[in-house]
Amino acid sequence: MLFLDNLGIRNMKKSDADLLQGTLDLLILKTLALESMHGYGVSLRIQQMSKNVLRVQQGSLYPALYRLEQQGLIAYEWGVSENGHKAKYYSLTKAGQRRLKDETASWDRLSSAVMRILQTT
């Protein structure tokens, strides 16, 4: 299991940290594109979608959510969770949808390029 941990980000070089942070942002945007959900839900959904390969620590998740909100890419409203508690539900804004589209395309290009290199015999 890979931990997207903020301590890891702190201790690594800035370029690596940027890459990891960008990846986490992309994962959060993608998760919220499917439906609005609270932070705990985002964390579970990433874990489920990655089939337990990726696990987002709270120390990385919440700063990332607040950062994306600051950038106007996601918005929130308070609602009631499935177990009846008050919860903060995040959803993607139009700017967030555009950013997700751009970042997905960029990620596709990058991963395809890396894959092509790795498959070269």
Binding site: Q58, G59, W78, H85
Partner: protein, 538 residues
């Protein structure tokens, strides 16, 4: 629109800080409770579930701090924390703060006052278009108007020429009789200096009527700024003149910029007011574009002997005439105001430069004293700084309160220093007798340039002290400082004591110098003249 969303967000942040904190609490609590519930569903006891969730969740305060750091206004919160910390440090060391403020204020005040005098007397150019083109002919001589008549025809090197003469005359205006500072002019004075009137008109080049232009000061003081001033009469010596214009407040006499004038009249009226036939003049010319004072001087010297010969009065010999006016022509630039007068008195600019140099030395001494103070303080706080760094504080974050502290002290010192400079800059006129001081204005002022200099010095203080703090407060930070305790810090205590002693010694010396300076001023002001100067006029 993204920008509208962002502006709304920033605006809400400013006023909903408590709500932000509460929402963050609620959100993190919800997350933790959801994890506990999930653990219980997985078969753990409530106690185990809670423990496991807390372990997995990590430090809540750290997460909160990271979330706060993402906010646009987190710097405001940090600034407020730093400010409170800096103020706490200041309140713990009031004596050190007082010495620092006094040092900064004294050095800034002294250097700014010295610069203001240097600027007024030596550096500042006349407030007229292209002041570098203005020259005066034989500045120490009073030239007869007959010579002016010849010179104003010789226009190879000059575009405009005028003559003027100042004198104090008794007269009356608005029912008040007193001594007035009057200028008599010949030629296109106002055109040559590019001035426009505040009210009415200026005098024409060939004006012969009994009219006068009055200064803004006279208009406001004697006529209470009356809007119907034009057409009113005033008496000057033997003449009665009609006021036809009011000059702007910043209009100064180019040849004597330190003189507070009251009225300007045509030369004919000036002579009539004095009861004389011919008026000796100070002649000022404006050089043509590209022409130099030396070229004009060479031209005048080529015709000077013939000029003297042609204008010598019947009751004088050529030698006497030449001695009075000058055996040869001398053309001097007046672009820098009274600086040309000082070329005749080189000891005055020398004294001003020396005072300025002395002020720079005192400024450097002040810097040295501040540096020593900063070193002593850095050493004192070394252990505290080491602890802050050890628990994860960034260097800049730890140093910020120190920078803010010196910024506050320097800001206070700068404000007090500027007030001192303003007070000192007015001392120049204190040396003049009362009868003179109303006519003399050296225009020494605390203007934008002086304020810029003060701010520059302030930033220099902040920069140098911050640098010293960084070097001495952070440079030698190591685990040794945290581990060694008193035994390792003993040499630093000795060094700190030595630094403080040296710093106090320099401060005492500087304050003693400043007090001696002020007491010398004070003694000069009260030197008995040996006669009663009351109501005495020259």
């Amino acid at each position: 629109m993204l920008w509208r969303t962002l502006i709304n967000l920033r605006f809400r942040e400013l006023f909903r800080r408590k709500r932000f904190e509460k929402e963050m609490d609620d959100e993190l609590r919800f997350h933790l409770e959801s994890m506990i519930k999930s653990n219980i569903q997985a078969g753990m006891t409530p106690k185990e579930a809670q423990r496991a969730a807390r372990l997995a969740f990590g430090g809540v305060d750290q997460i909160k701090d990271d979330c706060r750091d993402t906010r646009w206004m987190h710097w405001l919160d940090e600034f407020w924390q730093d400010l409170r910390y800096a103020l706490r440090m200041l309140s713990r060391n009031p004596l050190s703060a007082l010495i620092t403020v006094v040092l900064i204020a004294a050095t800034i005040g002294l250097l700014c006052a010295a610069y203001a005098v240097l600027d007024a007397v030596v550096l500042r150019t006349l407030p007229v278009p292209h002041p570098e083109q203005l020259v005066v002919i034989n500045p120490t001589a009073q030239i007869d108007s007959s010579i002016y008549d010849v010179l104003q025809r010789e226009r190879q090197n000059i575009s405009q020429i005028f003559g003027l003469k100042s004198l104090r005359l008794f007269g009356s205006a608005a029912g008040i009789t007193r001594s007035f500072s009057i200028y008599g002019i010949k030629g296109d004075y106002f055109g040559a200096v590019g001035a426009v009137p505040q009210l009415g008109r200026f005098l024409a080049a060939d004006e012969h009527d009994a009219v006068a232009i009055i200064s803004d000061r006279l208009w406001r003081n004697e006529f209470a700024g009356a809007p119907d001033i034009l057409g009113r009469n005033m008496k000057l010596g033997l003449s009665e003149v009609t006021i036809v214009g009011v000059a702007h407040r910043d209009f100064i006499a180019v040849e004597e910029p330190y003189l507070e004038w009251d009225a300007i009249v045509p030369s004919d009226i000036f002579c009539r007011a004095l009861g004389i036939k011919r008026m000796p003049l100070q002649i000022v010319a404006r050089l043509k574009v590209g022409k130099k004072a030396e070229e004009y001087e060479a031209q005048l010297n080529s015709l000077w002997p013939a000029l003297l010969q042609a204008t010598v009065p019947p009751n004088m010999t050529l030698k006497q005439w030449g001695e009075g006016i000058g055996p040869r022509a001398q053309v001097v630039s007046i672009s820098h105001g009274i600086n040309y007068v000082l070329t005749m008195q080189p000891s005055i600019p020398l004294a001003i430069y020396m005072i300025f140099g002395l002020s720079i030395l005192i400024f450097l001494s002040g810097c040295l004293a501040l540096v020593l103070l900063a070193i002593a303080r850095s050493i004192k706080y070394q252990s505290q700084t080491a602890i802050m760094l050890a628990i994860g504080g960034g260097r800049w974050r730890v140093q910020r309160p120190f920078v803010l502290e010196i910024l506050i002290l320097s800001g206070m010192g700068c404000a007090i220093g500027l007030a001192m400079a303003w007070w000192w800059s007015g001392l120049g006129n204190s040396f003049l007798p009362d009868s003179q001081s109303q006519f003399i204005n050296w225009h020494v002022r605390i203007d934008g340039q002086v304020i810029k200099l003060a701010l520059l010095m302030t930033m220099f203080f902040v920069g140098i002290v911050s640098w010293v703090t960084l070097i001495f407060g952070f440079g030698s930070i190591s685990s040794r400082i945290l581990q060694s305790g008193n035994s390792a810090s003993r040499p630093n205590v000795r060094l700190r004591t030595g630094m403080l002693t040296l710093q106090v010694a320099i401060s005492v010396l500087l304050i003693q110098c400043a007090l001696s300076f002020i007491s010398t001023y004070s003694r000069l002001l009260h030197i008995p003249l040996g006669f009663d100067s009351e109501n005495l006029h020259i």
